[in-house]
């Protein structure tokens, strides 16, 4: 039994089945990410005015690495171009060229994920520290030259440290106007144009210490959720494209038309992943 229009388009709709399928799937994805963006917007508009970390639940700005994010955006855009070039290559009957473009696409995807992992790691070693006087600072720890990840106050206690060396962040302009609770000397350092500043903080002065992880602040919660899910899409898409381009490409010989359709459909998914990032990037990195 043959399913009709699995390969050839149906005359009255002009579409083959998988194309309808993928667009329907993308429609549901639009609603999925739509809900996440709604969440982002709602969390953000109801956040108190003032800037994190001085107002505990104010919205953090400028914590993500913009050059890296920009670079990653470029990587993803490149892969979007190469995937469509791969498809064109098939249409031109140039299988070797197709392979090359697929390889670049998959490599870009993996590159994207690697960079994202690096960024995550950086966040896990970044802390917000609340002092007993109510002021808060952010920065990296320096424990005997290394920067521990995912510590809590318990780990500090376990390490039997009297004082913590902290590379304190100097707030950039997107964090201003700062409220009073930022320690005075850091404020001064900012005005002097410094970017980093190491300080020793007595452990007994610390009332809480949290890494930049989802439970620390709604911003991180939504940032990690959205980028992680987007990352999953990248990963899934890369697997599929890799399969089509390399493992399952034998179909090119047996059923070239169906194979080309598959690449088109895979490409559509890939562009969608790119599309999500086009909104995600400014929303979490820039605004």
């Amino acid at each position: 039994m043959e399913i009709p229009y699995a390969v050839k388009p149906r005359p009255d709709t002009g579409l083959y089945n998988a194309k309808v399928g993928i667009w329907l799937f993308l429609a549901s994805e639009v609603m999925l990410f739509g809900a996440f963006f709604s969440t982002y917007i709602l969390l953000r508009v109801q956040a108190p005015h003032g800037f994190w970390p001085d107002v505990a639940l104010g919205w953090p700005h400028g914590l993500l690495n913009i050059p890296i994010g920009t670079f990653n955006t470029a990587v993803l855009i490149t892969s979007s171009v190469t995937v469509v070039m791969a498809w064109i290559a098939l249409k031109q009957n140039q299988f070797a060229r197709f392979r090359k473009f697929m390889a670049v696409t998959v490599l870009c995807a993996l590159g994207f994920l690697a960079i994202k992992t690096f960024e995550y790691r950086e966040k896990f070693g970044h802390y917000v520290i609340q002092l007993n006087d109510g002021s808060r600072i952010t920065g990296h720890l320096n424990v005997n030259g290394s920067s521990p990840l995912l510590w809590t106050l318990k780990d500090v206690e376990a390490a039997k440290l009297e004082a913590l060396k902290v590379e304190v962040d100097i707030p950039n302009k997107f964090r201003f106007p700062v409220g009073h609770p930022i320690p005075e000397d850091i404020h001064k350092a900012h005005q002097a144009g410094e970017h980093h500043r190491e300080r020793e903080i007595k452990v007994s002065d610390i009332s809480s210490l949290k890494a930049f992880i989802p439970s620390t602040h709604p911003f991180f919660a939504i940032y990690f959720t959205m980028t992680f899910l987007h990352g999953l899409h990248v990963f899934g898409g890369a697997m599929v494209l890799f399969y089509f381009g390399f493992i399952g490409s034998g179909m090119w010989k047996t059923d070239p038309e169906r194979f080309t359709n598959r690449i088109e459909v895979g490409g559509l998914f890939w562009h969608f992943v790119d599309l999500v990032w086009i909104f995600l990037f400014p929303v979490v990195y820039l605004l």
């Binding site: 002009g14 963006f37 913009i66 855009i77 064109i88 359709n261």
Partner: protein
């Protein structure tokens, strides 16, 4: 819709174009769109450095550029410019619902019973 029947692989899955599908021009266009997307990204990042007078303006500019970029991806990479009616219908409805969802949730949040306040402020 043109459903000219070709067995040529070159036509597979791309029925809306005719025999003389111009690969060279298309390839050029795809690269151009890619370049435009990159430029858009750079502009968005730079725009952040120019200080706008208000948050609303900053957000609008960023989202405006993102919309243009997403238009480019949809229109060219995803071939929506030459896609079939059914796909349009599905996607237009979906995007309308997605926007409706965000808009209605936000307007609910912005239209509470007058006098409602965050509990953290306590005093009536």
């Amino acid at each position: 819709m043109s459903d000219s029947k070709h067995s040529a692989v070159a036509d597979a899955g791309h029925h809306h174009h005719h025999h003389d599908y111009d690969f060279v021009a298309h390839k050029k266009m795809y690269w151009a769109v890619g370049a435009a997307l990159l430029i858009g990204t750079v502009i968005t990042v730079l725009a952040r450095e120019w200080e706008f007078s208000s948050v609303a303006l900053t957000v609008s500019v960023a989202l405006f550029i993102a919309s243009i970029k997403s238009y480019l991806v949809c229109a060219y990479f995803m071939h929506l410019l030459s896609e079939k009616k059914a796909i349009y219908l599905i996607m237009v409805t979906t995007v309308a619902f997605a926007i409706g969802m965000v808009a209605l949730i936000l307007s609910s949040d912005k239209d509470p019973i007058p006098g409602t306040r965050p509990k953290t402020h306590y005093v009536p």
